[in-house]
């Protein structure tokens, strides 16, 4: 058996199915998107090679509005890292202290991750409904009529209103990742720090956080790349509207591909999304490495 494991031919043979699957499902479509991004193509008729024109148009055309969509995604990434993750970390630290009802709280916070995004979208659509939505009803009930809004129809509030459910849905996801990390901290380390007179806050700061740093890094990568790829909830809630106020690269890509029949331009956005996700993942790795 050991002889077999050391023979490279066997290793290649055993890895081949997974490699074929990986290349077929991931690498080939990326390659195809890259190829199509150099063409003016409506998806049905003949393609015309136009070089980098799609890339140029994407960054310069006002009617496409890619920069605004990218800006919205980056804003979501910032909010995810500086709002969602600290909240998830706080919950993980609290739940990691063996509090009463730990499992119940864990299940409750994780529940939004398990619910279908479309269901969550419909739920928040009802919450934001300008007439009977619970948000406006509650504001009216406490006499804050001036604060009622058409949350998803007003350009000024739509982006924020869309970000809230996205951030809310994945708090539980990051919390679970970080909770697993917090739970893996050896109890003797905590106890030693406590014996030295460290407070809860000091234990968390000097023992737990450094210990779970690799998991925090993973969470940051997931939060940033997830924000750049965000699509489903936005599609259900506003589909990029009103007036492109909540447009993100993914909704723009769908619009280009299937509404405007611009497969070349849609592929260009897909390629840029992949590059951005890779770029940010590398950057985050680099930042954490430098800190180490």
């Amino acid at each position: 058996m050991n002889k077999m494991y050391s023979d490279k031919r066997y290793i290649i043979l055993f890895l081949l199915p997974a490699l074929i699957l990986f290349c077929g499902v991931l690498i080939a479509p990326i390659g195809a998107s890259g190829y199509y991004s150099f063409f003016d193509w409506n998806g049905f008729t003949d393609k015309t090679f136009i070089g980098l024109s799609n890339y140029k148009e994407l960054f310069t055309s006002d009617s496409i509005g890619f920069m605004k969509a990218l800006g919205n995604s980056l804003l979501l990434a910032v909010l995810s890292v500086f709002l969602q993750l600290p909240l998830a970390l706080l919950l993980a630290l609290v739940l990691g202290k063996n509090i009463k009802g730990e499992r119940t709280f864990l299940s409750v916070y994780f529940m939004p991750v398990l619910i279908s995004t479309v269901v969550i979208g419909q739920l928040w659509l009802k919450i934001y409904n300008p007439d009977y939505g619970v948000l406006n009803v509650a504001l009216r009930a406490v006499g804050l009529d001036d604060l009622t809004r058409i949350w998803l129809g007003d350009k000024a509030t739509a982006l924020g209103a869309v970000f809230v459910p996205i951030l809310w849905q994945y708090v539980g996801y990051h919390m679970l990742l970080l909770y697993a990390g917090v739970k893996s901290v050896p109890p003797e380390l905590r106890e030693a720090a406590m014996l030295d007179g460290a407070s809860d806050g000091q234990v968390n700061r000097f023992i737990v956080l450094p210990y779970i740093k690799p998991i925090i890094k993973i969470s940051v990568i997931f939060a940033v790349t997830g924000s750049l790829k965000s699509f489903d909830l936005i599609y259900v809630l506003t589909n990029g509207g009103p007036l492109h106020a909540t447009e993100v690269p993914s909704t723009l890509m769908i619009s280009m591909l299937f509404l405007r029949n611009r497969y070349g331009m849609g592929s260009t956005i897909a390629v840029l999304l992949i590059l951005l996700c890779f770029g940010f993942a590398l950057l985050i790795n680099l930042i954490f490495k430098e800190e180490d």
């Binding site: 998806g43 049905f44 008729t45 009617s63 589909n239 009103p242 007036l243 591909l257 405007r260």
Partner: protein, 426 residues
């Protein structure tokens, strides 16, 4: 033990290998007398008003042709646009339906250009007369003089009115002139009733308001030229039309919540008596007629009598069936599609879901009075303009819809609208 495990694994592989292999016809055999199954894609979902007509037409056809089975798969309107385009652009013949629902104009035109659609000229010429299907009804699915689609209905943009609410504001008839309409809206607002509802989250609903105003300002001939790309958008009367719509919004004639709502919610508000008017396609007639109030229907009044007549409308035969050229049973599917389209049209008319693109050869005496009213309006029409987003090809249509959304969101005024479209669609 290892041998047993190996045998079990091998046995488990068999179904996967069988599933991966093959590639036989999904549609069965096409020779006479043998059972054939045809796949039909449509947007006739459970909530779609067209569904009963589709189901009835399929049932009738299958009863008359026991060897043909039609399997309908229905998709939600917006997701269907993605589905059919994705299937047409990359799908193999097994991924594609034999017969598919399509909008006429440029939507079907893109598939025709790509050679994905069967020409139906022979079937129309051999099996149907001009009297049964007037050639004008095939215009929106004809390209280079050849017919590729079967119209399943014929609709116009109509202005439905809740007469109970109008009476509360002192009106016992639907306004006939623009001056009357503004007066009526003022009276409704004064009585605490919202005149109109319009779904801002679905821009096509905004076009159902804007296009009739433009039509009644510049006339059907000029608007047809603009949609066909033969004339420019740079027309001061179009700018004025846009300003008129925005003026109506400013005066509180539109439900402010509408900007965040979808069409279903806006329609529900009208049917529940929250708004006095609802301007949308005539496919809503059955639902409006079934509401708990006295209803009436009219057209948006003339804005500029020098350029437009009252007797013109936005609409036409837009919904069609077409046959996929990659169908294993394309000839049979073509025959089925035409007959099915004719019968769907028949039942749609009787169900007050649309006007007949095919000349009725059945009893229409029990027709919904509201549908008869719309029929009378259409009979007087001198000209029609197909819905803008259907008449234009996908890219310009989306640019146009973006500008319409900006108008409703008051991001641009009339001048901005014509300047922008002239620049972007030149």
């Amino acid at each position: 033990m290892k041998k047993i495990l190996a045998i079990i694994l091998c046995v488990c592989m068999v179904p996967f290998m069988v599933a991966c292999g093959g590639g036989g016809q999904s549609g069965g055999e096409s020779s006479d007398g043998e059972q054939v199954t045809l796949k039909l894609w449509s947007i006739a979902t459970e909530s779609d008003a067209n569904r009963p007509a589709y189901l009835q037409a399929i049932e009738d056809y299958e009863a008359a042709h026991p060897n043909v089975k039609i399997e309908m798969e229905a998709f939600e309107n917006e997701s269907y646009k993605t589905k059919i385009k994705a299937a047409m652009s990359g799908g193999s013949s097994e991924d594609l339906p034999d017969i598919f629902f399509t909008w006429g104009g440029a939507f079907l035109g893109d598939f025709v250009d790509a050679g994905k659609v069967v020409c139906l000229d022979d079937i129309y010429a051999n099996n149907y007369t001009e009297e049964q299907i007037p050639s004008v009804m095939l215009n929106n699915s004809s390209y280079d003089g050849k017919h590729y689609g079967v119209p399943t209905t014929f609709n116009i943009v109509a202005m439905y009115a809740n007469m109970d609410l109008l009476k509360q504001a002192g009106w016992d008839k639907v306004p006939e002139t623009y001056e009357e309409l503004t007066k009526c809206c003022d009276d409704l607002v004064a009585a605490g009733i919202i005149p109109f509802g319009c779904a801002g989250s679905e821009t096509w609903c905004v076009t159902e308001y804007l296009e009739p105003i433009i039509l009644k300002s510049i006339g059907y001939e000029d608007l047809n030229k603009i949609f066909a790309g033969e004339a420019t958008w740079n027309d001061p009367d179009i700018a004025k039309s846009v300003d008129t719509l925005q003026e109506m919004i400013d005066k509180g004639y539109f439900d402010p919540s509408g900007i965040a709502l979808g069409n279903d919610e806006v329609k529900a508000n009208f049917l529940a008596g929250k708004t006095a008017f609802y301007q949308n396609g005539s496919w809503n007639t059955g639902e409006v007629a079934g509401a708990d109030f006295e209803s009436s229907v009219a057209m948006f009044p003339v804005m500029n009598a020098e350029r437009s007549t009252a007797n013109c409308a936005i609409g036409g035969p837009s919904d069609h069936l077409a046959v996929c050229s990659e169908s294993a049973n394309a000839d049979l599917a073509a025959e089925v599609a035409v007959e099915l389209g004719k019968e769907i049209c028949h039942y749609n008319y009787l169900n007050a879901v649309g006007l007949p693109a095919w000349t009725p050869d059945y009893d229409t005496s029990a027709l919904e009075p509201l549908m008869v009213q719309i029929g009378d309006i259409v009979n007087k029409c001198e000209g029609m303009v197909l819905f803008g987003d259907t008449a234009m090809s996908a890219d310009p249509a989306q640019i146009y819809l973006d500008y319409v959304a900006k108008v409703y969101g008051k991001e641009i005024d009339g001048q901005g609208f014509i300047d922008g479209l002239t620049k972007d669609l030149q």
